[in-house]
């Protein structure tokens, strides 16, 4: 199977690096799936979103990426995010609490910051494989 070099890079450190056969992400314009040999592309990801990576060896996994960009060439994919968390590192209980809190506040006042908090919590839960209603 064809493969490509995938790097998931956070501001503070490289989160993951390796060979993969498929990457999917949601850009500001819609969902995108990338296979090896994709045309060169630079895309802005949703402010809070989930990126799925299928490594050539091993299970596919999800990453919650916040404030990110996607840079694609024929043989490599780089996910740049201000904050990126591997699904295995996400504290599900904490994210659920955050989501509940944020939704309570949004009910009271429509504040931008709480919306971001809600979206972040949702992205975390989605990455961790929890079901979240949109």
């Amino acid at each position: 199977m064809a493969e490509m070099q995938v790097d998931v890079v956070g501001v503070e450190k490289k989160i993951w690096s390796g060979e993969a056969s498929f990457v999917s992400a949601r850009t500001v314009e819609g969902s995108i799936g990338i296979l090896p040999g994709h045309e060169p592309l630079i895309a802005e990801l949703r402010e809070s979103g989930v990126v799925r990576v299928d490594p050539t060896d091993g299970e596919s996994f999800h990453v919650a990426a916040f404030g990110g960009f996607l840079s694609v060439t024929a043989e490599s994919v780089t996910v740049l995010a201000e904050l990126a968390e591997l699904a295995s590192e996400i504290d599900v209980a904490q994210a659920k609490d955050d989501l509940r809190e944020a939704e309570n506040y949004i009910g009271e006042s429509d504040d931008q910051e709480w919306r971001i908090a809600r979206d972040r919590a949702r992205a975390r839960l989605q990455a961790a494989g929890e079901s979240v209603e949109q």
């Binding site: 450190k13 490289k14 850009t27 500001v28 314009e29 630079i42 802005e44 024929a74």
Partner: protein, 340 residues
Amino acid sequence: MAANLRVLRRRIKSTKNIAQITKAMEMVAASRISKAQARVEASRPYADEFTHVLQTAARAGASDHPLLTPREEPKRVGIVVVTSDRGLCGGYNANVLRETERLVRRVSDEGKESVLFVIGGKGTAYFRFRNREMAGQFTGFSEVPDYANAAHAADHLTAAFLAGGEDEVSVEWDDDEHADSGADRKTMFRAPKESEGIPGIDEIHVVFTQFRSMLTQSAISLQVAPLDLESDEESSEDEGRSSSADSGEGAEREAEYAFEPEPEVLFDSLLPKYVRARVFAALLDAAASESAARQRAMKAATDNANDLVDNLVRESNQARQAQITQEISEIVGGSDALAQ
């Protein structure tokens, strides 16, 4: 004589205590250097990749974006000064402030006004003492900066930069004071005057201490915006050449990038992140330099204290010996007198 000996012993004791403290600070600083260096290294992939994205997007025709074009008549220049919160780090802060003053002078020679954004307690104290106006003060995170700190400071810069030198922006300073959870240090952000805007700026410069090696750190100033792609491009072209050797027609392929959304729109969201990344990189470098400077200063202080203790011990031995000699000669003299 006896009094002298007691004084000397007291001084030895207090000097030893000082040496102990400086030794501890030296070791703390030393362990922080390697951590800070590791963070600088770890943040490099992001910075490199980001620069690549920026350059590619710029080549694809967003070159009239405010980030890339120097303003025609720059009026005000934003200067970010990165200093430490604590002292006891030798000439670290003095060097940064000297470099800042040099830059301020150059800017005013060019007929421009400088607007100061100061990070670190020592810098804010310096400018406050001299009654110089600061457009923003950020303190409480100089030793272990995290990205949120950088983002907070950088977002003010971006707002001011987009407003331009003619204008003024009002920035929400609602989180004036928020205690950092998990640590007892407090992160403070202070507006220049209550509820007043910060002046807009045409250029952004950052003055910080670059960590070259364990022994060399130097205060430098860098222009962050407008971004000078010319100088950056040279180095990237070199890289491009070496990588194109591996992958065939790498340079040709670069021209065919697709963008989502359009490069012009993409640039609008790249700009704030770019400023954040640059400020963050400067903070990390500065944190490593600060620890290195402190380690050196504290090592010198420990050495000096130990030298002082050696001298004092010698002096006190002399004093003790003199006292004993005197006592013996008194006894001998006394028994001689009795024998006669």
